[in-house]
Symmetry: C2
Subunit: 247 residues, 2 copies
DNA sequence: TATTTTCAGCTTGTCTGACAAGCAGTCAAG
DNA sequence: CTTGACTGCTTGTCAGACAAGCTGAAAATA
């Protein structure tokens, strides 16, 4: 491919930092936010004003704001409103969750692997919660459990209480990363399974059984039986998804 | 890859709530992507065409694309280019890491919690790898270890080999979710710590010590000593970050 | 005076039209 | 066969327009 007479000279095109203005603007704003130059909860200037300060058009500013909203650094984007965007307080958490969910869903990770990861994390969470529980979170878990113990519960309410229970349990570990990743896993798993799970043969019976397992887990945590709590959680999760997967 | 027989996916917009159109568009495209309706690597229609199919203006489409780029689902956003955006191949991972980094930098998740989560996951990974290892991944880990054992290694090479070692070890568990989440965690943690690892007092000594720990971990895994492997990994990670945090 | 109504002025959301820069193919001239 | 011009696309950016909604102040009313 190379003639003997000619030396292969490669010319590398040095692309200077030509990134779109909108991206540059978003990065600059991001730096101002994460570095604390604008504090959390502050209002940002209006789009027009930002554009004038930065000497860019309004559409450019709008695109930059969209990027920041997608990153969860700026509020808004979920409703139409005339409110000025603010530096976001807590929506970055759900943003991170969604980002991981994207990875998981695109990564074609087998369902079993996700379930196993959830077992690992939730097992560690209840062990930690059994050691030194966060009482407020434990109370929230207990309330969720009481909701699930109400007779003749409809599936949707049960489902919401179930999520809240597991979330609270993870939060009781005192580790903020546990509930975050757990929530991500749960949502990714149910996205894999599809939402047609409510059509189990014996819904009330299944829900009652799950509730009993929840009660046992919570009690093990409350009594600081860390190994028992882990075992119960592991069986609970594995059993649940095993039953779902091959009905 | 544009055979005449392949018919392009058509997008039709369905407005649910009073969401901004741009957000609705981005969500719909996101669904099309993560559900595999448009496959990874595919080109999306041009902005004009998308706008015509969805019956929205081009600026609206552009804002939606910005959101998707910020989420890492669509390529582009880092250079100015006339290329049509594609469904992104693998950049979602770094996006997730960046999202977590935002969370951490805004102080919503303490660094220690992230480290502890990494301990949990990597501990479970080596246990699983000790039980039934994926041989190819173990070989990769061993090669990375050999790289680290080379004398007078520069920091960057060591660092790369270190990442590869841990990644391979996690992959040896056979669970695809472990290396994935681990990678996100690792990147988020190191982004938060800063890259100032070179400023350790005794770099060569530190690297040598880390390498010995790595070797011990790998041997424990290879000999199917699951508990030992977990203990070693736990100490390895905790020790590493404990040393970093308060130098 | 106190309360309600009105209204001007802002904001965001969206659309349209315009232009520059750059890539890709075509097609003719050398 | 190479070269160059040309055409048609793309993205990036801007400017201007309009609707809808909020806010605060002035005006009208009780």
């Amino acid at each position: 491919m190379v003639e003997p007479g000619k030396k292969p000279v490669r010319f590398a095109l040095r692309v200077e930092d030509r990134l779109p203005l909108s991206v540059a603007v978003s990065r600059q704003l991001r730096e101002a936010i994460v570095s604390g130059k604008v504090s959390v909860g502050d209002e940002l200037p209006s789009e027009k004003e930002l554009g004038e300060q930065l000497k860019v058009g309004r559409s450019t500013v709008r695109e930059a704001l969209r990027i920041l909203q997608a990153q969860g650094l700026v509020s808004g984007g979920d409703t139409v409103s005339t409110q000025r965007p603010r530096v976001s307080r807590d929506s970055t958490l759900s943003t991170a969750a969604q980002a991981i969910e994207n990875v998981v869903r695109l990564g074609q990770i087998p369902l079993d692997d996700l379930v196993e990861l959830r077992v690992v994390i939730e097992g560690a969470a209840v062990e930690s919660a059994a050691d030194e529980p966060d009482d407020a979170a434990l109370i929230a878990a207990r309330e969720a459990l009481e909701t699930m113990q109400r007779p003749k519960l409809d599936v949707e309410t049960f489902r919401a209480a179930d999520i809240l229970f597991h979330q609270s349990l993870a939060a009781a570990s005192g580790n903020a990363a546990f509930p975050l990743v757990m929530g991500v896993l749960r949502s990714a798993i149910s996205a894999h399974l599809g939402e047609a799970l409510d059509k189990v043969p014996h819904v009330q019976k299944t829900m009652a059984a799950l509730t009993r397992e929840h009660a046992a887990i919570l009690e093990a945590v409350a009594r600081a039986h860390r190994k028992l709590a882990r075992t119960l959680v592991t069986e609970h999760i594995r059993g649940f998804y095993a039953g779902r997967r091959a009905p």
